[in-house]
């Protein structure tokens, strides 16, 4: 069966000539029928992909990006109603029988998934998982197949293919797992590669290396690539063309440069305005824009209007009474808007200048001195006897910083760097072994249980995932009233009133009081979590990746809320994020953590400009910037953060440092250097600062 399909498809290609696009999606619509009604996941989507081309597919969550990718694969749960057509080399995919479709999957069309840890079978060696795809579609004998497998593993940049092939997924890092998934997708030299958010769950440094791999693939294989992502920076870095989806429709399509420099749909402009961008040359710092409202509900059927009109700042009567169709703006640029020529980049309100950063005049709100935390104990060879074989797990070592009143300290670092342990130590969720915390100059007990109500009220935390940090069984009311009840002596009616105020301050009206958290969108949930954190008028809020799980438009709302609250109340923040763009935007000071050690700390501008610690430099170099013209600096970190029970003799960063100077790095702990111009800017490195600055300036360090 497999051979017949291939032959048939090849003849189609030959007959129609080279003009034909590899993939043509024509008016695709996908409607799921659920017990609560029809869900229009994709409404009217059309675009094409040519061979050797990377097409980025962007949009907020709920816009149908992933459904589109799976619809192309012919893999949709349930029995949805599919309209329109998907053509692969001119072949209508809907006409293929199950066996023909199977012969296509993993062979001519292959997929890369969002979470490689879940996409790989945990109980099967990864080599075998790749081998399966090879032997299913190619007629190779065992030795040839094994050879091909080794080649594939090598081609995705993994060293020592024999060892890797014999590993189980859990023995590999996230980046290595994703490389295996990519190798699996490349097994049969696919014509079309569908990548569904392939770097979303990865560290920024790993993301950069995977993106390099995808860019490299583009040159090597003659496949068309559909790259689904919510991250405009990522798309700007690797896509040739970009398709923007909104509420299941494709609303704009253009070559990547045109789309970022000359967007012609208000939604695209909105998405671009939401992203915190590097400080422009002029130094004018503008407030983040956000797109009000939320995605047109997929449960509603097409009412014959522009689906974006309810969120669009330039909507007219025509927009609400007539549905726009995609119209050409230029040869290669299409927009589904009645007024593409009126769209401009400052469409989204006036750009408001941010107020100057707060002065750090008063005593610091929080002081962290020599924070040290290990988990577990030394393990001995035989339970209680024998030599010590495994040291305890290091989380943080000697972390010092201060948070001034009304200021924000950003903490950045890869996963495993100890960011969350610092956060949890501050709010007293983990006992610390050594080191002192001071709140307004007074000693703060290590564990939350030992702290008094005032201290607890002063330090509040906002978590990454609001869906799991709000109690799903209790209404919003409870989540906000509880801290008021604990931390204030208000009467019941005062509390009720205050709770409504708090909700309003985060942009939700009083009707949300009795909703259940699960009825709210992710952004609304996080705003409820913020309102709850604001409830006791805390002096310091620890925000652990508070916007990482949110869409860009919602991310902007949450960041603006935090900023407004800080300006109004003078609250201090410890803001943890892996996204340098966000940290750069919100922070007055930045602490860069690596493997539990402070690599660099100081005022935000100083940390992010030369000279910086080689690790900071690598992070900056890896961070995707939503500008297709940005020249990416070629500094990449291989490997991953050292195993947490490894002990460092020399510099904690020596094993991965791209600027390592020699044995001194391996054998001597790095000295603390202070830059002459900025006494609070500290770098732990063996390389003299002037030398660092010279090296970094010469390597096209356009760090914003």
């Amino acid at each position: 069966m497999a051979t017949t399909t291939t032959v048939m498809l090849e003849t189609t290609t030959a007959a129609d000539g080279a003009e034909q696009p590899l993939l043509k999606v024509d008016g695709l619509s996908v409607t799921f029928f659920t017990p609560t009604g029809a869900v229009h996941a994709v409404r009217d989507a059309s675009f094409e992909i040519k061979r050797g081309e990377v097409v980025g597919l962007v949009g907020e969550s709920g816009c149908g990006k992933s459904t589109m990718a799976y619809a192309i694969m012919g893999y949709l749960p349930g029995e949805p109603e599919v309209g329109g057509a998907v053509y692969l080399d001119g072949q209508d995919m809907a006409e293929l029988g199950p066996a023909e479709l199977r012969a296509l999957r993993g062979n001519r069309v292959a997929m890369v998934y969002q979470d490689p840890a879940l996409a790989l079978n945990p109980t099967m060696k990864v080599g075998l998982q790749i081998l399966e795809a090879i032997s299913e579609h190619l007629t190779l004998d065992a030795a040839q197949a094994a050879e091909r497998m080794a080649e594939l593993i090598e081609s995705v940049g993994l060293p020592d293919p024999e060892r890797i092939a014999e590993s189980y997924p859990h023995q590999l890092s996230g980046g290595q797992q994703q490389r295996i998934v990519i190798a699996m997708a490349l097994a049969c030299d696919p014509d079309l590669l569908l990548m569904d958010e392939p770097t979303t769950g990865l560290d920024v440094t790993t993301e950069a290396t995977i993106l390099d791999l995808v860019a490299d693939l583009k040159g090597r294989v003659n496949a068309g690539i559909l790259y689904v992502s919510h991250n405009l920076g990522v798309v700007a870095r690797i896509a040739d063309r970009v398709v923007v989806m909104y509420a299941g429709q494709t609303v704009e399509e253009a070559p990547v440069r045109d789309l970022f420099k000359d967007p012609r749909h208000p939604y695209t402009v909105g998405l671009l305005s939401c992203v915190p961008k590097p400080v422009a040359d002029t130094g004018a710092v503008t407030r983040l824009q956000s797109i009000r409202g939320s995605v047109f509900p997929s449960a509603q059927s097409d009412p014959g209007m522009c689906l974006f009109s309810d969120r669009c700042p330039m909507a007219t009567d025509r927009c609400t009474s007539e549905a726009p169709t995609p119209a050409s703006v230029s040869d290669s640029h299409e927009s589904r808007c009645f007024y593409p020529d009126d769209v401009s980049t400052d469409l989204w309100d006036e750009l408001v200048e941010r107020e100057a950063p707060h002065e750090n005049g008063k005593e610091p709100t929080l002081t962290v001195k020599g924070l040290h935390r290990v988990y577990g104990k030394w393990q001995r060879k035989y339970l209680f006897f024998g030599p010590k074989v495994k040291p305890p797990v290091r989380a943080v070592e000697n972390v010092d910083f201060e948070v001034g009143a009304g200021r924000t300290v950003g903490i950045v670092g890869e996963s495993g760097s100890g960011k969350s342990t610092v956060a949890r130590s501050i709010v007293g969720l983990v006992p610390r072994d050594e080191g002192d915390l001071e709140l307004r100059g007074e000693d703060l007990p290590a564990e939350a249980d030992e702290r008094n109500a005032d201290q607890k009220a002063s330090l509040r935390m906002v978590f990454q995932n609001p869906t799991s940090s709000l109690n799903p069984k209790l209404p919003v009311r409870h989540n906000i009233l509880r801290p008021l009840q604990k931390f204030t002596d208000m009467t019941a009616s005062e509390r009720e009133e205050r709770a409504c105020e708090l909700l309003e301050s985060v942009g939700l009206d009083a009707s949300y009081m009795d909703r259940q958290p699960l009825q709210l969108s992710g952004g609304q949930q996080q705003r409820v979590a913020l309102a709850a954190a604001f409830a006791g008028d805390p002096e310091l809020i620890v925000a652990d990746e508070p916007v990482s799980a949110l869409d860009v438009s919602v991310q902007a709302q949450v960041l603006n809320l935090l900023e407004d609250h800080q300006r109004e109340k003078g609250t201090s923040y410890v803001f943890i994020s892996h996204d340098l763009g966000v940290v750069r935007y919100v922070s007055d000071e930045i602490v860069v953590l690596y493997a539990g050690h402070v690599a660099e700390s100081g005022p935000a501008e100083d940390v992010l400009s030369t000279p910086s610690h080689p690790y900071t430099e690598a992070l900056l170099s890896a961070a995707p910037v939503p500008d297709p013209d940005a020249t990416p600096t070629p500094i990449r970190l291989g490997g991953s953060v050292p195993k947490q029970h490894e002990q460092f003799k020399g510099c904690f960063f020596a094993s991965r440092c791209p600027r390592k100077i020699g044995d001194v790095c391996d054998n001597t702990p790095p000295p603390l250097q202070t830059s002459p111009g900025s006494p609070t800017h500290e770098i732990h490195c063996h390389i003299p600062l002037e030398e660092l600055a010279r090296l970094q300036d010469s390597s096209v360090a356009t760090l914003g």
Binding site: L118, N121, E132
Partner: protein, 314 residues
């Protein structure tokens, strides 16, 4: 691995010690007297005293316990109070009979339950699935003495195909008359089968919804291969512990089934030992049951470790 085994086996020894103490204590509390049981109602005080002395029952309980446990450590399980022969000799033939029955039940129940569980998981929501679900619930709800009697009524009394009693002459093996094993095996299998089947079905459904199964399907693998290579191995992981727990359950079932069918196995012997207050016999039987239970859990953990590379036994 060695460390794991050493630790687990020492834990098993501790468990057995605790079990033996508990059993000994319970037999002390139980009303009734061994000497009375041995001699019958007409025994004189003199006779009873004599019996107590010969059996060593006049000594204090802790001394008797230590004496007994000392023997166990040397491999001497003591003599049966009632039959006056070494406990090991009483148990040996019975143990073989019980093992045969248990093995049959296990070999019938486990493979068929897993196979049907996988099939129902794949065909989730179909009419067959519903029918099997209801059937298995009924099997779980009915105790063995009810299913056993029902089976006797249908297959012996009504259809007359199979013998209703599984009694055999002492010294003969049940394997010489395999027909007598059919009904006890079926009765024992019922609950075991239903539990394992339901567990397998639930796990298969869960695994079918994982992303790695989606990956396998989108690799273009045929459904049969997806099931055999990706779904079943992962679905079996939690099932294994259920099988181990059910081994213990089956031991309980054995006692009932053997009594219903008059099958000369350990279960029947255990009941006799309780009735006659035959403490050395009772102790040994309790140790065998507890030991089997602990060992099957150990085997489950070991096979879990062998099947799931993420688990490291330490």
């Amino acid at each position: 691995m060695t460390r794991f085994l050493v630790r687990r086996i020492s834990l098993i020894v501790v468990t057995l010690l605790v079990v033996s103490t508990a059993i000994f204590a319970i037999t002390e509390i139980l009303p009734g007297d061994v000497a009375q049981m041995v001699m019958g109602q007409g025994a004189t005080e003199q006779n009873l005293k004599h019996i107590r002395e010969t059996l060593g029952l006049d000594r204090p309980a802790p001394v008797r316990y230590l004496d007994w446990i000392g023997g166990v450590v040397r491999g001497d399980m003591g003599h049966s109070f009632v039959q006056k022969i070494p406990v090991t000799e009483v148990i040996e033939p019975r143990l073989a009979n019980s093992l045969i029955l248990a093995a049959f039940a296990f070999l019938v129940a486990v493979p068929s339950a897993v196979a049907i569980g996988v099939w129902m998981g794949v065909r989730q929501g179909s009419k067959t699935d519903h029918a099997v679900s209801v059937g298995s619930l009924v099997a779980i709800s009915l105790p063995e003495f009810v299913t056993g009697v029902l089976l006797i009524i249908v297959f012996s009394s009504f259809l007359g195909w199979l013998p209703s009693s599984s009694a055999i002459l002492p010294g003969t093996s049940p394997l010489t008359r395999p027909l007598i094993l059919v009904l006890p095996t079926l009765t024992l299998t019922g609950v075991l089968f239903a539990y394992i089947m339901r567990m397998t079905r639930a796990n298969v459904i869960e695994v079918l919804n994982t992303q790695y199964v989606r990956t396998a399907v989108l690799k273009g693998l045929p459904m049969r291969r997806v099931l055999l290579r990706h779904v079943v191995p992962n679905a079996m992981l939690p099932t294994i512990s259920v099988i181990a727990v059910n081994m213990g359950w089956m031991l309980g079932g054995l006692i009932i089934v053997e009594n219903v069918f008059a099958y000369p196995g350990l279960g029947q012997l255990l009941l006799t030992a309780i009735n006659t207050r035959d403490v050395p016999l009772l102790q040994t039987l309790a140790l065998i049951i507890a030991g089997t239970y602990a060992l099957s859990n150990l085997v489950a953990d070991l096979s879990y470790g062998a099947l799931d590379p993420r688990i490291r036994l330490t």
